[in-house]
Amino acid sequence: MQNKPELFTGRSHRMTQRLLMLGLLAAVAGGGILLSLAQGASGIPVGEVINTLLNPNSTSLSQIIWNIRLPRTLVAALVGMNLALSGALLQSIMRSPLADPHIIGVSSGAGLVGIVILILFPHHEYLLTPAAFAGAMGAAFAIYILAWKGGIRPVRIILAGVAVSAFLGAGIAGLLVFYSDRVHGALMWMVGGLSARSWPHLYAILPYSIAGGLLALFSAKALNVLELGDEVASGLGLSVERTRLALTVVAALLAASAVSVAGLLGFVGLVVPHSARLIIGSDYRFLIPASALLGIAVITVSDTLARTLFSPVELPVGIIMAFAGAPFFLYLLRKEP
């Protein structure tokens, strides 16, 4: 990043710069994944990790990597990617820098349903992921319907989102107060954690990551046009309403799949897309992949810290992320020319 405002910027120069930056982010994301595989209750050298990944065998080391660390790391990566992509989409379609998966009710919907399961039906905990997913989508759908008035205006969605989230939040708080003896499990769910996440969770989130990621990439051009404002966008032949609805659905699915396996991770969806924008610019053709990669990097590194920092006690990853990420974000904000 440079501090002086760029008055003149060569076209090809900008392109190379952005591609390089994407490469760098990809390297950081890959590094985060390797780090997460190597670090834990027992440290494993990175060379060993790669070797075991390429040639699985029956040693305990291979067991640890293949049955514990690899699925957890991959779940972490996809959760980070989905939340970041969801936030990036929402910031554009809602035309608001404060839009994140929380604003469309995904977090509060998943939160309430998750808490209900964890507190009232603890022996049905296996239902947590699908039920939270349904709760997230239900809340998002309710907000969209409530905000509808002969068309959709982003401001109304945001306001309806705030109201519905407050409503559901009251439900969560009420349950926590009434059943204060069972709060612990619920608390972990509220901050978001990845402990004991394994292959089934990965299979639950993977389809949404693939479909949502591809759809987000394909809509990059439409998102760019949407950045010019509704009137200009529709003058350029974009069906603004339809695009907004379709992309809200994609964003909701991405976020719902993430919170349903990891709980209410609040930080990634808001801050990662902003950071990516400060790093790579506002062109969505680059911003989409950059957000995805940065989301992966942030969450895998945070989860590694969450597991190792106070070992054997494991912190919820959401706490680490907010502690390390918020200052970093503020730093980027100050540095912005």
Partner: protein, 269 residues
């Protein structure tokens, strides 16, 4: 040819337009003038398909614009709204390139066509030397030219401009108006624009439509329309009108019409 046929349009049961008709001929420059709240911008937005009339239709080549495919319409008609904003890290060329959006499809390679249209639009608006500048660092006049270039890159037959000269100084106002009329002359692009300045409308238009409270008060050549009684009845001002060196009417408002029953504040909507 663009036509508004019997359109009615309103908010909360109160009609702004009722049974409104206006025909815009192919290849002309038509300015829409009228006092605040007379429905100028609303009319332009309706012509641009940004507002759907409750009754009646906007016809383009005798076909309702709401039945056009959005991209197909954007290839025929470009719109420049009154206020525009773009991400701060966008260069001139990148912004103008968005004008090619309705021409691009993922299954089609349009690179050659795109760069031809882009170069043409940048050259006509004299932006070639500013190509790699960030739009956010440009002056108001340059920025308006960039947005005009984006509209031109669409290669439209019709250009709709909503107060394209607002916030510009007199030199840059004329620059935009001359650019637009030159495009009309050389390329035959039909121009429909909302203007505040009557003298600009008289100087640069083939015809002027005067709106008053949602109805068409008059439409015709500048000499037919810019008259003392128009100014008195529609704008509530007394004015002196002469012909300038190009035989176009020019008006200087003298004072408000002196009558007690005419409220000075116009009711909106």
């Amino acid at each position: 040819m663009l036509e508004a046929t019997h359109i009615s349009l309103g908010f909360d049961d109160q009609y702004l337009f009722k049974d409104f008709c206006l025909t815009i001929k192919g290849g002309e420059v038509l300015s829409i003038i009228g006092p605040n709240g007379s429905g100028k911008s609303t009319l332009l937005k309706t012509l641009a398909r940004n507002i759907k009339p409750q009754q009646g239709n906007i016809l383009l080549d005798n076909k309702a614009i709401h039945s056009y495919n959005p991209s197909a319409l954007a290839r025929l008609m470009a719109v420049l709204p009154q206020s525009t904003s773009a991400p701060s890290d966008l260069t001139v060329r990148e912004l103008v390139e968005y004008g090619r959006f309705p021409h691009q499809h993922w299954w089609k390679n349009t690179k050659r066509e795109d760069s031809l249209a882009l170069d043409w639009a940048m050259e006509r608006t004299k932006l070639t030397s500013l190509s790699d500048r960030l739009v956010s660092t440009l002056s108001g006049g340059e920025r308006q030219r960039v947005w005009l270039a984006m509209a031109l890159a669409q290669k439209p037959r019709i250009l709709l401009l909503d107060e394209p000269t607002t916030y510009l100084d007199i030199c840059h106002q004329l620059e935009i108006l001359e650019l637009v009329t030159a495009l009309n002359n050389s390329e035959g692009i039909t121009v429909v624009m909302v203007l505040h300045d009557m003298n600009h409308a008289a100087r640069y238009s083939d015809r002027i439509a005067v709106l008053n409270k949602g109805s068409l008060f008059a439409v015709g050549t500048p000499e037919q329309v810019i008259r003392t009684d128009t100014l008195r009845e529609v704008f509530n001002v007394e004015a002196d009108i002469w012909l300038d060196s190009n035989k176009r009417p020019i008006c200087i408002p003298r004072c408000l019409v002196a009558s007690a029953d005419q409220p000075i504040v116009q009711k909106r909507g």
